[in-house]
Amino acid sequence: MDFIVSKFNYWIYIIMMMIGFYAMIAKRNLVKKIIGMNIFQTAIILFYVSIGAKKGATIPILEAAHHAKIPPESIEVAKYINPLPHVLMLTAIVVGVSVTGVALALIILIYRRYHTVEEDEILRQLS
């Protein structure tokens, strides 16, 4: 039971990843596959961000520090959560948006050519 309770966030993200993975490989509509890819990506982003969490820590912005001189050694590291996963996941979110945009553009082109977005009807028209 301790295996589930102390690492419950990884369980949630793995279940979300598997839902997105199933949508990508088993659905027949092209738009649903793209949505599955988005769900998969969101689960990965949440997984990385949850690694940087610390118990009893606050957001990664220095308190009472605008135009103030604070010596570096007096800042407690355990009071602020880890900013590095947040930085890396900003890039990941932007890449996800770009891929979704281009994928939807390709789906529009496929629709104009074949007048359907179901995968098996497209395969039937190709053969």
Binding site: I14, K54, A65, I70, I75, H86
Partner: protein, 94 residues
């Protein structure tokens, strides 16, 4: 259920079991000395306000310490806009 969807479901469940088996080695929720928070992250937290006048560590790391990555990420989103334009605009729209 169709056979291909059943095969997909079995694949997903097997992959889920392998991933959950790997969760054993991951750190607890809220641990303060995970390997991710020990090497270079304390330096960023302590020296961000002294090096750059930015209280927000995320902005300081994104735009100053790792500014090169942000430059090419901006290029990536610009290329996505160009790609959408090339795929979908017709000749008379220009």
């Amino acid at each position: 259920m169709k056979p291909l969807k059943l095969l997909g479901l079995i694949t997903v469940i097997i992959t889920g079991f392998f991933l959950l088996y790997g969760v054993n080695d991951m750190p607890r929720w809220g641990d303060t000395n995970t390997p991710a928070s020990v090497h270079v992250s304390p330096y960023y937290i302590q020296h961000s306000q002294a090096d750059t006048d930015a209280p927000n560590f995320v902005s300081a790391v994104l735009a100053d310490y790792r500014g090169f990555d942000t430059l090419f990420e901006t290029t990536v989103i610009f290329c996505a806009g160009i790609a959408c334009m090339m795929l979908l605009r017709k000749e008379e729209d220009a």
